[in-house]
């Protein structure tokens, strides 16, 4: 077994185990911490596939920014572990069965494909920052600029939604 294969299996087991931890843990804080483990293992997969730019962006954006936002909101709301009331046991069971059925269908359908045994190309330099940056600022410069407008509108939307309703307090 090569080193890359050992690393692949280690990162895969880590990702799936941490994802199960996200779903099963009672407290939302532990869920966030498990989700950070998932994101780091997915970044490890990106590095194994030689997509270094996406690995760094994944760590900065997801593990750095989004998860801090989640932790901030959870601590702001001061949620207790037993705040979540127990859901109907049959509904929970049905959800698990539905997810398992989807997994079985996906695996069974894709395992029949003829391209399933293609190996990933190694050592290509497409994922490097130089090539992606050149493509991003020439071919994809318009979507890039549009995404800045998207961010601006998301920021304005978050501020407007999160603001306290002053009219409601003045005349209830």
């Amino acid at each position: 077994m090569e080193v890359t294969q050992i690393l692949f299996w280690f990162l895969s087991v880590l990702a799936v185990g941490a994802a199960i931890g996200v779903v099963l843990s009672k407290s939302p804080i532990y869920s966030v911490l498990w989700l950070i483990v998932v994101f780091f293992s997915i970044s490890g997969h990106y590095i194994l596939m030689n997509a270094q730019f996406l690995a760094i962006v994944n760590i900065i954006v997801y593990a750095g920014a989004i998860m801090v936002l989640f932790l901030f909101v959870i601590m702001l709301m001061n949620l207790n572990a037993d705040a979540e009331p127990a859901k109907n046991k049959y509904l929970k069971f049905a959800g698990v069965i539905a997810g398992m059925c989807l997994m079985i269908v996906l695996v069974a359908a894709l395992a029949e494909s003829s391209d399933i045994k293609v190996s990933l190309a190694r050592g290509s330099d497409v994922g490097l920052i130089k090539n992606l940056g050149r493509s991003l600022f020439t071919t994809y410069v318009i979507p890039f600029e549009i995404s800045s407008i998207l961010f601006l509108s998301a920021m304005v939307g978050a501020v407007v939604i999160g603001k306290k309703d002053e009219q409601k307090q003045v005349n209830p």
């Binding site: 895969s12 990702a15 799936v16 994802a19 199960i20 996200v22 779903v23 939302p28 869920s31 966030v32 989700l35 998932v38 994101f39 997915i42 997969h45 030689n50 997509a51 730019f53 996406l54 994944n58 954006v61 997801y62 989004i66 936002l69 909101v73 949620l79 705040a83 979540e84 859901k87 049905a94 959800g95 698990v96 539905a98 997810g99 989807l102 996906l106 695996v107 894709l110 395992a111 391209d115 045994k117 293609v118 190996s119 990933l120 190309a121 497409v126 994922g127 090539n131 992606l132 493509s135 991003l136 994809y140 979507p143 995404s147 998301a154 920021m155 939307g157 978050a158 939604i161 999160g162």
Partner: protein, 109 residues
Amino acid sequence: MEIKWYIFLSAALFCIGIIGALTRRNAIIVFMCIELMLNSVNLLLVAFSKMHMSGIAAKAPALATDAQLFVFFIMVVAAAEVSVGLAIIVMMYRNTHSVDINFLNRLKN
């Protein structure tokens, strides 16, 4: 590494995300499961971008970067989505003092 292991790993992560979104009632954990599903799709896109690399990259080098830039834009949209979604959850907590998604039943009337 063969492509099938990446497909199976992404399918497993996606299904765990779906199970979480279906079974949990805490709105924040449902939201995190949606992030998990987005990330599994990102992983599969990057794996597919490496799949036929030797053939495509020789003919058109610019084509081979498409999938990875697509993943980049998915991350951009996800960041915007999280900021608005968390604002909505904070608003919901302020009105109902709970993050139970069943309280959203009230939106019906």
